[in-house]
């Protein structure tokens, strides 16, 4: 390699530079103060390449400079945690039998706003690499999506493009997309959200670190050639208004290349010649080499002239910052390179030795004989962190003074019910998930459409449950409860399958932290997540932050998304959402008074976003423990989280899933009908059980101190829910077609 042992650390092109202009600093997303800080730390002015490298590493996307102090509040410890947040590319937890689950969720919001298909596709590609870079085989994908209204062509273009991109990448890779959620609101019109989660499985001892250590070990770049695509992607994601940015920053995915990379990397790890493996994501070779070196405690020297490229005349700056997809950096034991390269070449992959680990803790970049950059690793991996002033948004005064007395109660409950069923946030998600291969891998026991997906773990009696959840409206109305309820709902979805939630990953989608009101939302939501994670015993083992989600000067709703993992020790003792047998009794477990505050009903029927959503964590914990206990005792025929749309919608969903009607016509209330039918208090689960099991269910609920209300029975071919009376097939047709027609522009 080009670094001689006697090298004195001086740059070949170390001539004095003029101070960068404001425009040049903006290009690399650095402030004037940060530039000064960089100059001080470096002891000289950074040159243009160094400036780009520092800007990338200090971006929010890589450096978490605006969120790191807040993220420390999230609980990360637990008996089962093997690799915690921030340590590696993803977190890992023990699931017994010597196996570990590796998981992470990550955003690709800004690229998807500009080029929805490729933006979403490469989001999936990126999160997959984060998992197999740890040596784990990906076994499931989930996608949490937020779109603007589908009543305009651009909204449909973005939504259909994003779904198509997610489908294309996951399907081609052969990793099942088993879950996720979709929600639609006008706040996401110019800034849709694409949060992709991946779950992988591995034997403990095979967990691989993204570490570059051992001076003289060699760096192999394998996979796609390096092009000009995606330069400044990380900094692009860290400034507001994606529409204003240029298209050149969006990458183009190649899932076939990634499939080869996956198989080749997992095979390469079997050769025992790999010291570390790190994928190339945001800021490309820069962050992958720097972060690997940071973990190893040494430095790296990169010889950019050795990088295979797909465009002529690429500069060292472009080669270091390119975000071309489907590339991996392999740290190989010195002398074992050829063994690895033969594995890669069998899979048809090009690979080159492009550098080596050095003992000096620096990033050194060479272009042939020319030394073009030299920066201490320590300075790059420790981005400056900022705390901003917080200010409670003024709109909260208005939304929290909401009184339901201003809203008339429902007049025609059946018509309102059907309108709710067909509304885009409640209608069946099948038009989306039928485009995802959710069965490949033959582990999917509970497919999309339930509360959580359940995947068996071959070779054991176990299963894992996975779900994502998050509610922007709740977080907008009460940020602390929004953060807490994202955790509670995701965990509740897991518990409804019978699995015990054991770990979380999170993705925080917020507006500009420089706005005190947005920073308030972020800070409060994180506190809420921390409180719920602690209460439910589910540490956050990985995550991602996406700030500056705004367009035309308007922030999105603050949208924390939680991905949850649960473990079910005996696959046979599982539960699903569909009513099973005519004659079974139906009950709701959990908190008594449903409220209209922040409900889908208020939004869909009255166009009102107001109220104060509430959550009592001790109630939540008791409820989830109870439902798991009932499932484990095999007392339940179904369990379904009562969420968006309230009780009437939850009953309908269980009826559709089971293909059988509901007889709950005697359901009545002393209060408002709309509250009873469509109120959305947290911590409720609709269950069904044989009449013989009734006394045992009631007794267990009483012992657990969880409210228990009998609602009626399973049976017939109608939905009779209090005053609602409609044929099951008619209701199902509205529910089935609601989103399908909206996506097709025929709503």
């Amino acid at each position: 390699m080009g670094i001689s042992p006697g090298w004195d650390g001086r740059l070949t092109n170390n001539s004095e530079h003029s101070l960068p202009t404001d425009a040049e600093l903006r290009e690399v997303a650095l402030t004037r103060d940060e530039y000064k800080r960089a100059t001080d730390l470096l002891g000289r002015q950074p040159n243009q390449i160094e400036l780009g490298i520092i800007g990338g590493m200090w971006s929010e996307h890589c450096g978490y400079k605006h969120s790191r102090p807040l993220l420390k509040r999230l609980p990360g410890d637990g008996d089962q945690v093997l690799i915690g947040a921030g340590e590696e590319n993803a977190g890992a937890v023990d699931i017994g039998d010597g196996l570990a689950i590796v998981m992470k969720i990550e955003s690709h919001n800004h690229p998807s706003a500009v080029e929805p298909f490729q933006g979403a596709a490469t989001g999936v590609g990126g999160i997959l690499r984060d998992i197999f870079t740890m040596g784990a085989r990906p076994i499931a994908l989930l996608d949490s999506l937020r779109f603007g209204p589908l009543d305009d062509q651009r909204g449909r273009y973005l939504a259909n493009g994003i779904v198509g991109g997610v489908a294309w990448y996951g399907n081609c890779m052969g990793i099942p997309t088993v879950g996720g959620e979709v929600s639609i609101n006008k706040c996401y019109r110019g800034n849709p959200l694409v949060n992709a989660m991946c779950v992988g499985i591995i034997e403990h001892e095979k967990l691989t670190s993204a570490t570059a250590k051992g001076s003289g070990n060699q760096l192999i770049l394998v996979g796609a050639d390096t092009g000009r695509d995606g330069i400044h992607g990380a900094t692009f994601a860290s400034v507001d208004d994606p529409e204003a940015s240029h298209r050149g920053v969006v990458q183009v995915g190649n899932p076939f290349m990634e499939k080869l990379l996956l198989e080749a990397c997992l095979e390469a790890l079997q050769t025992n010649t790999v010291v570390g493996l790190q994928d190339l994501g945001a800021t490309g070779l820069t962050s992958s080499s720097v972060e690997s070196a940071g973990r190893g405690g040494g430095g790296v020297a990169i010889q950019v002239d050795k990088i295979a490229r797909r465009a002529d005349g690429m500069s060292p700056y472009e080669l270091m910052l390119s975000e071309s997809q489907e590339r991996m950096l392999v740290v190989a034991k010195r002398g074992d390179v050829s063994k690895l390269q033969s594995v890669f070449s069998r899979w048809g992959l090009h690979s080159d030795v492009i550098g080596e680990v050095i003992s000096t803790p620096n990033l050194e970049v060479l272009d042939g004989d020319i030394h073009v950059a030299s920066i201490p690793i320590d300075m790059l991996v420790n981005a400056p962190t900022y705390s901003f002033p917080v200010e409670r948004p003024r709109y909260l005064d208005e939304t929290s003074s909401f009184s339901k007395d201003l809203i008339p109660d429902v007049v025609d409950p059946t018509a309102t019910f059907l309108k709710m069923l067909a509304s885009p946030n409640i209608a069946s998600r099948q038009p989306i998930y039928q485009q995802y291969d959710h069965m490949v891998g033959t582990n999917t026991i509970i497919a999309p459409g339930g509360d959580a997906a359940l995947l068996r773990v071959k070779g054991t009696e176990k299963a894992i449950a996975v779900a994502t959840d998050g509610n922007g409206r709740t977080t907008f109305l009460e940020p602390f409860v929004g953060g807490a309820s994202a955790v509670a709902e995701a965990a509740r979805n897991i518990s409804c399958t019978g699995a015990v939630p054991i770990a979380l990953t999170n993705c925080l989608n917020f507006g500009s932290p420089e706005q005190p009101t947005a920073y308030y939302q972020l800070s409060q939501a994180i506190d809420g997540m921390a409180a719920a994670s602690t209460a439910l015993g589910t540490p956050v083992i990985s995550g991602n932050v996406s700030l500056y989600n705004e367009s035309d000067g308007e922030s999105i709703w603050p949208t924390p998304i939680v991905g949850a993992l649960g473990i079910l020790n005996n696959l046979e003792k599982r539960c699903q959402i569909g009513f099973a047998c005519s004659g079974d009794e139906i009950a709701v477990l959990g908190a008594g008074t449903p409220e209209l505050d922040g409900s889908e009903y208020l939004s869909v029927i009255h166009d009102v976003v107001a109220g104060i959503p509430k959550l009592v964590l001790s109630d939540e914990l008791a409820l989830q423990r109870l439902v798991r206990e009932l499932i484990s005792a095999q007392l339940l025929a179904s369990a379904h989280d009562c969420a968006d749309g309230g009780l009437a919608i939850a009953l309908a969903e269980s009826a559709f899933a089971g293909g059988v009607g509901v007889r709950a016509e005697s359901l009545h209330t002393k209060h408002r009908i709309d509250e009873m039918l469509f109120g959305e208090s947290q911590s409720r689960i609709v269950v069904s059980y044989s009449s013989g099991a009734g006394p045992a269910v009631a007794a267990a609920a009483a012992t657990a101190g969880v409210p228990f209300f009998q609602l009626g029975n399973v049976g017939g071919d109608r939905l009779l829910i209090g005053p609602i009376d409609v044929a099951l097939t008619d209701a199902e047709s509205d529910w089935t077609n609601g989103l399908r027609l909206a996506l097709a522009g025929n709503a």
């Binding site: 198509g164 489908a167 294309w168 399907n171 081609c172 890779m173 052969g174 190649n254 899932p255 076939f256 290349m257 499939k259 080869l260 899979w347 048809g348 998930y433 039928q434 485009q435 995802y436 291969d437 959710h438 069965m439 490949v440 891998g441 033959t442 999917t444 026991i445 497919a447 068996r456 071959k458 696959l571």
Partner: protein, 231 residues
């Protein structure tokens, strides 16, 4: 019985198929890499699994159909031994000329992953011999291009020679355009060669071979081939 599951770059149902053959049915099943020139000695059954061979960036199956191993697969078929192509494997058999016709994108223009019902139309193949006449099987599909087409004479020939092995139907086994998930001509879900030993099908029997996955109907297809081998 010895089975070979061919692995092309981009195959992604290879592991699922091997799992069923080896772990569930106890068959001596092994992978064969697409770049090999021959199958393992005494291979009885060849399965071309589903996936996106070569990314399906060209016509689906077109690149894989020209892989070195396909010469051996052709010879295997010429000896009258059973070959099954599932999904992308079916597409590869079409491109290789081992089966007639071609695939177009689904009429929805979207990828579809869902459960379908197929009716067994012919018991005279190694992959349907133990089915009941007109038995309805519940299997999943997962494809973007399963819209089977063939010219008029070709279709007549398939019909006359009873080479349409499976057709999409309702759960009750009734022909219906609504039961056709991709626009496939004559509701065709699977066909066989004129020698009847090469079968291509779009649905995935390997995904429906265990009750916990939602259906065991795929087992009858595997059991047919086992039965034919006298195992």
């Amino acid at each position: 019985m010895k089975a070979a599951v061919v692995v092309f770059p981009g195959s992604n149902c290879d592991a699922d198929t091997l799992y069923v053959l080896k772990n569930l049915l106890g068959i001596d099943a092994r992978y064969v890499w697409h770049g090999e020139n021959c199958l393992h000695e005494n291979t009885d059954l060849v399965v071309l699994p589903g996936g996106f061979s070569h990314g399906d960036y060209l016509r689906t199956g077109a690149m894989a159909a020209r892989a070195p191993i396909m010469t051996a697969v052709r010879n295997h078929a010429a000896y009258g031994k059973p070959v099954l192509g599932i999904c992308n494997g079916f597409q590869i058999l079409l491109e290789a000329g081992l089966l007639p016709g071609a695939m177009l994108p689904n009429t929805s223009t979207q990828f579809r992953c869902e459960w379908v019902h197929i009716r067994v139309e012919s018991l005279e193949t190694p992959f349907s011999s133990t089915c009941r006449p007109e038995q309805v099987l519940r299997l999943p599909i997962a494809h973007g291009e399963g819209n089977y087409v063939i010219d008029h004479d070709g279709l007549s020939e398939l019909q006359d020679q009873e080479r349409i092995v499976y057709r999409y139907t309702t759960a009750e086994g009734i022909d219906s355009p609504d039961a056709n998930p991709n626009g496939s001509m004559d509701n065709i879900a699977g066909i066989c060669s004129s020698d009847r030993n090469v079968v291509g099908m779009m649905p995935h029997p390997e995904r429906a071979s265990e009750e916990s996955l939602g259906s065991q109907d795929g087992l009858t297809i595997w059991e047919s081939v086992l039965d034919g081998m006298g195992d």
